[in-house]
Amino acid sequence: MNAQELFARKYTGSNLEAPAPVTGCKVQSETSGMICDCDPDE
């Protein structure tokens, strides 16, 4: 099953029109220069 089918079958959310796009909140580390975001890490 691909991700599209998985979500079509199991997603419990309602798919309501959003008032605005999700930007999230990104933290730019002054010391490391890395951007902490949602990494699909190991």
Partner: protein, 348 residues
Amino acid sequence: MSLPSRFNAWITLNRACNLRCKWCYAASTQFAQTSNMSMKTFSQIVYVLSGLPIGRVALIGGEPTIHPEFWKMTRLLKEAGAKVALVTNSIKFADVGFLKQTINAGVSGIMTSLKGGSPLAYLEGTGSSSAFSKVTRAIRNIEDSGIPHEVSITACESTMQNFAEIVEAVKASGVQYFSVDTERPVMLKGGLEPGNFPNCPKIAAFLMSAYPVLVQSGLNFCIKVSIPFCHFPEGFIQQLRDGNHLSSGCQMINGSGLIFDPTGNLLACNHLCENPLGTLGIDFSDGEGYYAFRNRPDLASFYKGMGTCPNQRCVECEHWTLCGGGCRLHWLCAGADELLGQFLKKGG
């Protein structure tokens, strides 16, 4: 839905690892030693990425540093103009020569994924008693090299219990930047792994207890919030924002990520490793082909759905643009009754 003006990519070089973390989804593949990405697949991915506006490419695993062609792959990406980041357990960087070769190959930033705060914690969590001393040596080597570096921990049951010990270890290692993430569901064989995944209230309670420990440590830190904000008091979220400690949102919600598994499958998220969106060489072979793939009705519908509100309360919530209703993987495992909170009163 228009496509993002810039993408980030994650390339999973392998599922093999030099640790055996008991919480890792790669355990389901027995940390397959045969799962190394081939140079041919890697080259095809680089070709696709070179035709797209890419901000950053992260090499991940398994453990990418043990891939036999790790440096060769890094050089190829660098030569293609990519900014290459590395997500690693850093054990190999206890050898300063290995670190120098890695930087010379073109890695421009390292995220060390820490597994515990003591030799005992590593033994219990990863099966290796020597790993902790190697990792602490590696962290000093990386910091001394001057390469951008952050240490990250993904809090699960065991690390939640030993968090103060972990913070002390991070502080003692001389790390400049520390990020705290929390475990997210992984879909395997159509179900949720691990079975004892902490629920949203438990994750929220942990993060609220972790925050003062982090502040007191004096570390520069951020907390990645992947559950709906309504599990916290509103003042807590504001406190994180005011201190520049809040990280939220997700590449899957805004459709800005390309995640490749070792065989060239394109994933929506590495936590959906058995449910690819498509396959390199079949669904697309270059940047232009990727755009066409993304505009295919099933893909367009998938990403449009990712950006919608999962519940009417999200539509009306002032935190929507930063919260986004939390990680969509949670919404595969539970419904709104479990996943949405009530914005706790202070002390509630």
